[in-house]
Amino acid sequence: MQFFLEVLIGGLLSGVMYSLVALGFVLIFKASGVFNFAQGAMVYFAALSLVGVMGKGAPLWLAFILAFGIMTILGIATEKFVLRKMVNQAPISLFMATIGLAFFIEGLAPLLWGNDVRALEIGLVDEPIPYLLDSFNIVVSSFDLTAAGLALALVAGLALFFQFTRVGRALRAVADDHQAALSIGIPLQHIWALVWAVAGFVALVAGMLWGSRNGVQFALTFTALKALPVLILGGFTSVPGAIVGGLIIGASEKLAEIYIPPVMQSMFGGNFGGIEGWFPYVMALLFLLVRPEGLFGEKHIDRV
């Protein structure tokens, strides 16, 4: 039971980290209808920029601000040179363009900052929390807990930003209906650039947390692949969906990794580790068969 709880909590905490990446997808999808496959590459780029600037001797807070600046420039450039030119094309073409963007960023990042694995020190320690260890005998990493707390704070902040500021209201208007938003004088292109900048900010936070955990390396781009099942489970358009989806995927993935391979081993023999790679996808897929728009997605009505 204790072990089960430990795995469950570990899974939930890593699920929050998945949500963080998924959040970047949701933001851009909501505001511009673009399914941004490059989010994982942006996480990598942001983390590398952060480490790169810190390597030049800047303290963490300054490096964070500078890296955010870099991500903003990247976002604005993407809007200006790619998205603006692809207005009115099919969403699936835009999706394929973001695959191209992902490749571009994955090449650009190591070209700018070098491609060796770097450690990122942000002053969080990875130790079991003494209180939980003593009283319940459960190992919960303080790093994971802090990271999850940060992620939740970010989500809450974004929710407030969307709900109560003028810009947030404009963002929601654009997400709801581009043309209507344009007709009442909301500057569409500024909003898109802004959304990409915010997605860059989310990528930066995600990159910082993932990077300090596993080192800043190319594998960070795979965080996007972790976030995709979260997205289809939660629905592309829903911020709460990204959170709940992340928690479900994180927990079930870790539990499955612990409990399914032994069962398969007793059935077929051999070693069946590493099911984390596909399990979330298959789970999300089965879920989609029941509910095609995800948990919190908008119900899609087809018209001819």
Binding site: K85, I99, G270, G274, Y281, A284, L288, L289, V304
Partner: protein, 358 residues
Amino acid sequence: MFYRETGQFKNSYAADQQVFPIRQDRVGIAILLAVAFLVVPLVAGNYWFNAIFIPFLIFALAALGLNILTGYAGQLSLGSAAFMAVGAYAAYNFQVRVEGMPILMSFILGGLTAAGVGILFGLPSLRIKGFYLAVATLAAQFFIVWCLTKFPYLSNNSSSGVISVPGVEMLGFKFDTPQSRYLLVLSIVTSMALLAKNMVRSTTGRSWMAVRDMDVAAEVIGIRLMRTKLLAFAVSSFYCGVAGALYAFCYLGSVEPDGFSLDLSFKILFMIIVGGVGSILGSFLGAAFILLLPIFLDITLPAIAGLLSLPFDSATVSHIQLMVFGALIMFFLIVEPHGLARLWQIGKEKLRLWPFPH
């Protein structure tokens, strides 16, 4: 002047319905095939066969498969490499486990197995569309590669799923020189491309296109969605499967599951974007382009760096390659969404009028 169909009258339905109705096209194709079948085997060296012609034909076949699914039926798939893997491993198993199995039969059975798996993973397409489906095909990509690594039976109990194929032999003739393997691949690819060309202008192909353009409307005019979509998945996976079998048997000789990674799927997707989505010719042009580009960059980049006296290593080359790939994809999607095939078409339009455009 050279490409003018004036004066070519059709006197029968058969003539009107032939694959290449314009005489210049027929002559062009005949010359192309003659060169490919007769001149190339005599002229080209082993490097050309092993590094360029054979992979080009195999990738073109895989791109053709994806193009049927994505370009004609409108279902985006990110799992084509996985279906290639199914084809390769199934063909291998039929070849190794069944005594006296003809090699062509193995290829076909490999393709059919891939088609079966394709139908299985195509089932969600009946419920979900667009991005959701694209992500769902990733499930196939990861799951299949994992299965091939973890079930020793599938790779005949070799360690970590690596298979080394037996030699290709047909009716006592051993395909052991690059020339002979090139000719084998070329014959298979040519006949399958012709088949695809015919399929996309048949009822099946037209219903695919109707589903692609708007599936609700297609359903309303009486096209059976389930049949059409699953058929697209089956045919596409069959093509990818045969391509995978050829990839293992005629190109690499020994493959591992990780060779059929997501990167390969993306590469095939890029081929159809650059070549032309929804075009048979485009699959070939795209495959050639994506295959030749890295070779071209490998040669030119160090030379350019040498001119500018910049420090240069192989890692930098690979990074610049990634960037060029990405930039090209975006460039094509922005400037010419229908790819190289469309450029070819524009060229032909110009040639009709040249040299007297008015």
